[in-house]
């Protein structure tokens, strides 16, 4: 019997093609694991569909028909991607019973390439959160445990917490995520996985439930860098249904395997040595720098002077865009409605009961910063600082080819911590938000572990649409870390 549990996509594809394992076996194996799991990774299961699709994949493979790059591979789909005929909730009560009648472009691409969707993964409500504790469907538990903290349950990170946790617990082979300020990279880091946020515009946003449209970007969460390349290949496309979808040619992402990092300049931003950056993370950062040195890369110090302003900028722009995007949830066209005889009353009570506390808080901030009298002082100001942050990266990339930083200032923390003060939770994203504001591709790969055996993620940021070099740098970290 093959070890199906720890399989990565590349190996599984090999087994499937050699007919050593069928997609149906693989799918049933993961279904069984999901049914036994108590991590609350999934909001909705789609097992019947998955079994049907797996049988179709097996038929295609056995009759030597043309097959997709993910033919027969069971994955998880973040519950932010609309799936035709399958409930899509965005982790919110307001969409508890919403059944889309169309397919998001990202999920359509994956299905066309033969992927088997096992279910919709849990997430922070409307992707607003960094610990997966804001979901209406309950928090997700990280399968990893600290060997010190008396077996306390840890957060998987967020917002793509269900996706990360399910991959880390071997409940599926890979999963989709979405990243607005760190929602792919941070949970990947907390769960010891690879998380890739591609350049803004690389994956279509059509059918992705919108949070902050100028920042939202889909990407994969996987066990290996190679798997991330395979998933991204399928997820990427030009899409006329998304006006910010890029028409730049899509490379063969697996070509990253031939990309040579020798002589490439790796920039270390001085400003990322932020206050509160855990010393064990600094150590892993230093080890990782040495991996690059040993492999012929040149290490240089760079400056991104506006780094400390990125998080406040983000917490104006993202809530502002959210307040506009979430105006559609009014209890009329779809979703939850609180009954009332008065229209205004119906709107206000529907939104009061349908949204959770964090979402309401951000909608209030967003509404405030866009309101008459405050627009210039907050929103317009933030847009200008965003330009400066983007300019910082542009100048930095004239001196270096890639930027290497930690992904998070701390490792996964126990469920229930950092809940009192919203800002304390926001600080989780201090190292991931700048690349989001600049729309740059960035990957998180585990670089090492702390003394309690918890993973520490390293982030590599690249120039726009240079996912290949970002993947190559990620692979170097994966190869050098020694586990």
């Amino acid at each position: 019997m093959k070890d199906l549990k720890n399989l990565d996509i590349s190996t599984a594809k090999d087994y499937l093609l050699k007919k050593e394992v069928s997609s149906l076996e693989l799918t049933n194996f993961f279904i069984e694991r999901i049914e036994e799991s108590k991590l609350n990774c999934f909001i909705t299961h789609t097992f019947d569909d998955a079994i049907e699709k797996a049988k179709e994949s097996d038929k295609k493979i056995s009759s030597n028909e043309e097959i997709g790059i993910l033919e027969g591979i069971p994955i998880g789909m973040k519950d932010l991607f609309c799936t035709k005929g399958i409930r899509t909730t965005a982790g919110s009560k307001i969409l508890e019973n919403f059944i889309p009648f169309y397919e998001s472009t990202v999920s359509k691409n994956l299905l066309n390439d033969g992927a088997i969707i096992l279910g919709k993964t849990n997430m922070d409500e409307f992707a607003m959160g960094s610990a997966n504790t804001t979901s209406f469907f309950g928090n997700v538990i990280n399968p990893l445990k600290s060997n010190q903290e008396n077996n306390k349950n840890l957060v998987p990170g967020g917002s793509s917490g269900g996706s990360a946790s399910s991959v880390a617990a071997n409940l599926c082979m890979a999963a989709t995520g979405s990243d607005t300020g760190g929602s792919i990279r941070q949970p990947a880091s907390f769960c010891g996985l690879v998380g890739l946020k591609p350049s803004y515009g690389r994956c279509s946003r059509f059918g992705m439930i919108a949070f902050a449209s100028s920042l939202d970007q889909a990407g994969p969460i996987t066990k290996t860098v190679k798997d991330a390349a395979i998933m991204l290949q399928s997820m990427s496309s030009y899409d006329e249904k998304d006006s910010t979808s890029s028409r730049k040619p899509i490379p063969r992402y697996l070509d990253f395997l031939n990309f040579n990092l020798k002589g490439k300049k790796i920039g270390l931003p001085t400003e990322y040595k932020v206050e509160g950056l855990n010393s064990e993370i600094v150590e892993v950062w230093e080890d990782t720098i040495n991996f690059f040195k040993k492999n012929g890369a040149e290490i240089i110090n760079i400056s991104l002077p506006h780094t400390s302003f990125a998080l406040p900028t983000y917490y104006i722009i993202a809530p502002a865009e959210a307040s506009a995007n979430l105006a559609r949830y009014d209890g009329v066209k779809y979703g939850f409605r609180e009954k009332s005889d008065d229209l205004q009353d119906m709107y206000e009570c529907t939104r009061a009961k349908g949204f959770g506390d964090e979402v309401k808080r951000r909608l209030m901030i967003g509404t405030y910063v866009l309101s008459a009298g405050y627009y210039d002082a907050y929103y317009l100001k933030a847009l200008k600082v965003r330009q400066l942050i983007s300019n910082d990266f542009k100048s930095a990339f004239e001196k270096c080819d890639l930027i290497l930083t930690p992904t998070t200032p701390n490792v996964a923390f126990p469920i229930g911590e950092k809940q009192k003060d919203p800002i304390e939770m926001y600080l989780n994203d201090v190292l991931t938000v700048p690349a989001s504001l600049a729309g740059l591709p960035a990957i998180s790969v585990t670089g090492g572990k702390n003394k309690n055996n918890l993973p520490i993620g390293m982030q590599v940021i690249g120039r726009p649409f240079e996912e290949i070099s970002v993947l190559a740098a990620g692979k170097l970290i994966e190869d050098c870390r020694g586990f």
């Binding site: 009648f101 909608l363 200008k384 400066l388 919203p422």
Partner: protein
């Protein structure tokens, strides 16, 4: 700039989110904290800087304005909390 109960009430009206007195007190504190924190941005000199609306710098193209009906009215109304004879139903707004 500090937020008082009047402002919180006004913003909750604009955001169309009903809040009770307890939530109001909590929101005053939280919003003041968050806005105090983002006030950090005032330190940045942005006088000659243009606002950045998007990182997307490719020209946008119009898609063909074609009528197609891949989705039926029934399907659209299926998710509505209340519908009748092909319409969404809302509480009465005219006397």
């Amino acid at each position: 700039m500090s937020i008082d109960n009047k402002t919180v009430r006004k913003v909750s009206k604009l955001a169309k989110i009903r809040i009770n007195e307890q939530e109001e007190i909590k929101l005053i504190e939280e919003l003041n904290n968050i806005l105090g924190w983002v006030d950090e941005l005032k330190k940045v000199d942005t006088e000659k800087i243009e606002p950045m609306l998007s990182v997307f710098n490719e020209s946008m193209v119009m898609r063909k304005d074609e009528v197609y009906s891949e989705i039926s009215d029934d399907l659209v109304l299926k998710n509505a909390p209340e519908s009748k004879s092909g319409f969404f139903v809302v509480p009465k707004v005219v006397e």
